[in-house]
């Protein structure tokens, strides 16, 4: 589970611009990860077992972890990073995979992508690191505990693909998989007492050698001001048609 800036937050860049300005940002759980967590909770309600939340990031991520615990996860592992470490998706995936291996798993659920940097790689790379089958962009999931197989519907452009895979596996969640529950007040109270195991990034012994580095970061060019046509509706419509043809080149 990743903590990301709320999509309504106004993003500003740090001077030097390899990172965004994190001051004043409203942080939320990555929405696709909420689908993943919800699916995990439903599977647990159906089959029993335990939902362990794994998150990676600086101390602020604890807030998202508590929210996830308040939704009903049993406990959590927080891989605590500091700003000095330069991470890429492969490093992140290796760290998460290592925690998964320590914890044990029947099924690993992630969001299909994080809405901040849109790489859509962490789930698949965790599967690679653990040598597991992966099913991505899943909109429906069924587990057969006896045969230890999963059956999933994947959303493709204009089609639904149905696949099967043996467990354990990695599944990445797409919007539509379910409707995540709210945390409840009793669970918020209980979340305080649930275990969050902190694992220092350094203790994982991963070589801090990212394969991909951010070179620079810039904001998209400002949009030109909107034109508002006023006056006689007939003339305004004529002017609109002219602008659409001559300036916007869309008709």
């Amino acid at each position: 589970m990743k903590q990301v800036p709320d999509t309504a937050t106004l993003i500003r860049l740090q001077p030097g611009a390899k990172q965004i300005e994190t001051q004043g940002i409203k942080w939320v759980i990555n929405p696709y990860d909420e689908f993943a967590l919800e699916e995990g909770l439903r599977l647990k309600e159906r089959w029993g077992g335990e939902v362990v939340l794994v998150a990676l990031g600086p101390a602020r991520v604890e807030e998202a972890i508590r929210q996830g615990l308040a939704m009903g996860a049993d406990r959590a592992v927080h891989v605590l990073t500091n700003d000095a470490v330069e991470l890429d998706v492969w490093l992140v995936a290796q760290a998460l995979a290592r925690v998964c291996r320590e914890e044990g798993y029947d099924l690993i659920l992630t969001g299909k992508q994080a809405v901040d940097d849109d790489q859509a790689q962490v789930g698949p790379l965790v599967a690679v690191a653990l040598g597991l089958p992966q099913v991505t962009v899943v909109v429906q999931l069924a587990i057969d505990a006896e045969s230890r197989r999963l059956r999933a519907e994947r959303e493709l452009e204009g089609a639904i693909e149905v696949v099967e895979a043996p467990l354990p596996a990695v599944v990445t969640a797409q919007r539509g998989l379910n409707e995540p529950r709210y945390p409840t007040l009793p669970n918020i109270m209980k979340a305080k007492r649930k275990e969050v195991r902190t694992v220092a990034w350094e203790s994982l012994g991963l070589e801090a050698a990212p394969l991909v580095r951010i070179e620079s970061l810039s904001l998209p060019p400002a949009r030109p001001a909107a034109k508002i046509l006023t006056g006689d509706p007939e003339e305004a419509a004529r002017e609109l048609a002219r602008l659409l043809r001559e300036e916007a080149h869309v008709i």
Partner: protein, 382 residues
């Protein structure tokens, strides 16, 4: 920040619920005269209705501070609920403290889950501010009480399952503060009749005249001791004032947010009106007054939670918050120019509700009387 981890989590939860049931939803329901049932159910499922009910009765055992935060935040999103005030914020507060053990065990767990919803009935046509003059009576007959009288302006009586009602068990005597008693009355009981009272108010709840015609309730429906109701009432009416102050603070913020975004956008005489001191200063003043009231109200809630006498703070916060919210409403209306009066902008509907709070649940003058007499030590006001 001064918020506990739980309090932040509760606010985040309310934000999530409000994102699913925003002002648009609430307004559509209110205008159609329907109760925002989905919003209410979401609050029930999230455990918000049982927030202040002790854990042993299925609640979360939190206090008025948390409840006020919930009210504040709901109102800030423009989705205030009067039933949340008169039920969890008033009636249930009294029951949790003073009801018989059997009544608590019977009612509170269901109320925590939202399966038993309470409204509250004290006002009568001839006795509003002056509760001592109520004419509803309860008479003991064997192991039952027989209640007769007519309550007035009872919010949410159509949606509620039960009414916490104030009745006389002894005749009025000018020199006595005894004689009022509280009862839990199931609204499905024989002899209960509701008559809708149409109001000029955009709200989630309707008001009703509730007629009780020889309604029989069992002995355990009596809350605490016979005749001692006035004492118990203040364990509910102070929270009600704090809840209403919280709603006013939230509505004030909502109105100011709306006013500020409009003032930034609206260009008149070649400048956004928000750049003009004549607009900016009243907005800043209203903001200051709203936040001052919020701080005082927090103080009031804290006093209540720490079992101190919260009357002084609760009355002061209620007056302060409602005055501030009215100030915010007025400048928000002014900033919006003629648009403020168009239905599409939905501003006067907010003013109506804020203005209600100057009169109900307690008139401004009565709260000031309390401050004059009990805080300042002046003679009882005439």
């Amino acid at each position: 920040m001064w918020l506990t981890e739980e309090q932040s989590a509760i606010l985040a939860l309310i934000d999530q619920i409000a994102a699913r049931y925003p002002r648009r939803y609430w307004l559509q329901k209110a205008r159609a005269g329907e109760f925002p049932e989905e919003l209410w159910q979401a609050l029930a499922q999230a455990g918000i209705l049982g927030l202040a009910i002790p854990e042993q009765y299925g609640g979360s055992g939190l206090g008025l501070q948390e409840m006020a935060l919930v009210q504040e935040r709901l109102a800030e999103h423009g989705i205030p609920l009067l039933l949340l005030v008169v039920g969890p914020g008033l009636s249930l507060m009294i029951l949790a403290k003073h009801a018989s053990e059997s009544m608590k065990a019977q009612v509170l767990p269901a109320a925590s889950r939202g399966e038993r919803v309470f409204c509250f009935g004290i006002t009568e046509a001839a006795a509003g501010s002056n509760t001592w003059r109520i004419a509803t009576t309860a008479e003991r007959q064997g192991r039952e009480w027989v209640i007769t009288g007519t309550k007035h302006f009872i919010s949410g009586a159509d949606r509620a399952d039960d009414l916490l009602v104030v009745a006389r068990t002894r005749p009025y005597a000018a020199d006595s503060r005894e004689g009022l008693s509280l009862f839990v009355v199931n609204l499905k009981s024989p002899g209960v009749r509701l008559t809708w009272e149409p109001m000029h108010l955009t709200a989630a709840e309707h008001q009703f005249q509730v007629t009780l015609d020889h309604v029989r309730v069992p002995d355990e429906a009596l809350v605490g001791e016979e005749g001692a109701g006035a004492r118990y009432l203040f364990d509910g009416l102070n929270p009600e004032r704090i809840n209403v102050a919280a709603l006013a603070v939230g509505l004030g913020r909502h109105l100011l947010n709306r006013a500020v975004s409009y003032a930034k956008e609206r260009v008149v005489f070649d400048a956004p009106i928000g750049a003009r001191q004549g607009i900016q200063h009243p907005l800043a003043e209203a903001k200051i007054h709203v936040e001052l009231a919020a701080a005082m109200n927090r103080y009031a809630a804290m006093a209540y939670d720490q079992q101190e006498d919260a009357g002084a703070w609760a009355n002061m916060a209620k007056v302060g918050a409602v005055d501030a919210a009215l100030e915010a409403a007025d400048i928000a209306i002014q900033v919006h120019g003629g648009n403020a009066f168009s239905e599409a902008y939905d501003l006067l509907s907010l003013w109506e509700l804020v203005r209600l709070f100057k009169t109900a649940p307690v008139a401004r003058e009565l709260a000031l009387n309390y401050v004059g007499e009990h805080v300042l030590g002046l003679p009882k006001a005439l």
